[in-house]
């Protein structure tokens, strides 16, 4: 086991022990701050409520990420085909990106009848920009001499796209995807907060709100732990995907091998 794993692990254990110790020593009531053991216990006892909520949030996150990938790549391809389309649309993509999602989420939720669809739109809005901008950059970062070479042998634009531009853009796209994965989750959670929808079909964010109203603070912490764990899992999975696709040829993947 390398120091890279041991060091943060020990730090984590130490911090949790300190937290538990302080809560016990100062007799802090659980509705102010529950200790980590109680949070773990709640996570298990409330699993029946939390797990379905996690699935709801996860579904919105993944659907939003998928939509971000599809729209991001399609727009990037469109931009690479025509300078005019890019000049016309790119500023609006930036406006969508810089407007805080909390500010527009109420509008979207008011306009769209289906809550699930409005949550999806919010999460997608947050997630799609890194994929778009990175893929645009990648499609443009093609070796000029390779473009000349393709031209020399009379390549069609289609072959140039499939055999040259897309592979060259792949590392950039994967970098964007890793960022977007986390952002899709954040977008989904924020939108759930704003929507504040209850009932059977509600996600983790609503469970946090609900726990707050009911002063079930340990359950609130348990839901928070689940959201963080989900974010980390998404990041690790996308990093693994990136590593598998690039390990034979790209510097970024080779550096990790040491």
């Amino acid at each position: 086991m390398s120091a890279r794993i041991v060091a943060p692990f020990l730090t984590g254990v130490l911090l949790l022990a300190l937290w538990e110790g302080l809560v016990r020593a100062m007799a802090i009531p659980p509705y102010i701050l529950p200790g980590p053991l109680l949070v773990a216990k709640t996570l298990i006892s409330d699993w029946g409520t939390l797990w379905p909520a996690l699935l709801v949030t996860l579904r919105i996150t993944l659907e939003a990420l998928l939509a971000a990938v599809v729209v991001g790549i399609l727009l990037a391809l469109l931009f690479s085909l025509s300078r005019w389309i890019e000049l016309s649309l790119f500023p609006y993509a930036i406006i969508l990106q810089v407007t805080p999602i909390v500010a527009i989420a109420p509008l979207i939720i008011a306009w769209v009848d289906d809550v699930n669809v409005s949550l999806l739109i919010c999460a997608w809005l947050v997630a799609f920009f890194p994929i778009l901008s990175n893929t645009v950059l990648g499609l443009r970062s093609v070796d000029r001499n390779l473009l000349d070479l393709f031209g020399l042998y009379g390549s069609s634009r289609w072959r140039m796209l499939v055999d040259l531009r897309l592979p060259a853009a792949l590392p950039y796209f994967l970098g964007g995807l890793r960022i977007s994965g986390g952002l899709a989750l954040i977008g989904a959670v924020v939108a759930e907060f704003v929507a504040g929808s209850g009932g059977r079909e509600s996600g983790l964010a609503y469970r946090i709100l609900e726990s707050g109203y009911q002063l079930k603070i340990p359950r609130m912490f348990a839901a928070l732990v689940l959201i963080s764990a989900t974010g980390i899992a998404i990041y690790l999975l996308l990093s693994l995907l990136s590593h598998l696709l690039l390990r034979r040829w790209h510097e970024s993947a080779l550096a990790e091998n040491g």
Binding site: L146, G151, Y153, G154, S155, D163, R248, H250
Partner: protein, 246 residues
């Protein structure tokens, strides 16, 4: 009847820099010709114009025997890093619509021709600088072109690798009978390789003089250390100095 007839060709870039100022040149079928000149004299530009990668601003490039199939070797290996040596070499055939099994066989043959048998499945990243250049040459030769244009292909390599590649290139040329146009700024390299050298003036480049290198082939390492070679290098060097001063 020459293979290529370059007449008074000029090239002015969009930023107003004139790279070529009326260069004229005949290239004979089957010869090994070097274009020698200082950095920035437009010799790379001349090569790109012959390849059709750019259009001359003035002057003409004629092909009295018809425009042949040609191969181009860039200053850098210019390989696709995401795929194997074999797939890199097979690329020109793929773009020409040659079927999968045939292009693999021909690409493997071309790789073997540059001494890289056994490296078909290697990625560019796993090859040395000299080996990458060999892959690049194999790719240029895989279509069996009549004319091979090379733009300072060995300039970035170390001396020992460069010498070996020079010898191997000559051997390939003798075996395959293509016409070779080799752009370089090295007097020693041009004398070692070519039958004929054209010397270019500084920018805006034009052909100042040309000289024949009458030494017989095959030329080995021994030729590179002979008194004849030294004398020819001195002569060529003097021509280059004259071109620079003019």
């Amino acid at each position: 009847m020459p293979l290529v007839r370059v007449r008074d060709v000029s090239r002015i870039f969009a930023n107003g820099v004139q790279a070529l100022g009326g260069a004229s040149l005949d290239i004979e079928a089957g010869e090994f010709l070097s274009v020698l000149g200082p950095s920035g004299c437009g010799k790379s530009t001349l090569l790109r114009l012959i390849a059709g990668l750019a259009e001359p601003s003035a002057g003409t490039i004629e092909w009295p025997q018809g425009r042949p199939d040609l191969g181009f070797v860039f200053q850098e290996p210019t390989l696709m890093p995401w795929t194997t040596a074999l797939a890199n070499v097979a690329l020109p055939l793929k773009l020409r619509g040659v079927s999968g099994s045939e292009r693999e066989a021909r690409a493997a043959e071309a790789l073997a021709g540059v001494g890289l048998k056994g490296f078909e499945k290697s990625y560019p990243r796993e090859l040395s600088g000299g080996m990458k250049m060999r892959v690049s040459i194999a790719r240029a030769l895989v279509t069996a072109p009549k004319l091979l244009l090379m733009d300072e292909p060995f300039a970035a390599l170390d001396e020992i690798t460069r010498r070996r590649l020079n010898t191997d290139l000559l051997e390939l040329w003798q075996r395959t009978h293509f016409t070779a146009v080799f752009v370089t700024h090295s007097v020693f390299e041009s004398v070692f390789l070519s039958q004929r050298i054209v010397v270019m003036s500084p920018r805006p480049g034009r052909v100042r003089s040309e000289l024949a290198i009458p030494a017989p082939y095959p030329r080995s390492e021994a030729f590179g250390t002979s008194a004849d070679y030294a004398a020819l290098c001195r002569l060529t060097s003097a021509q280059l100095s004259e071109a620079m001063a003019a």
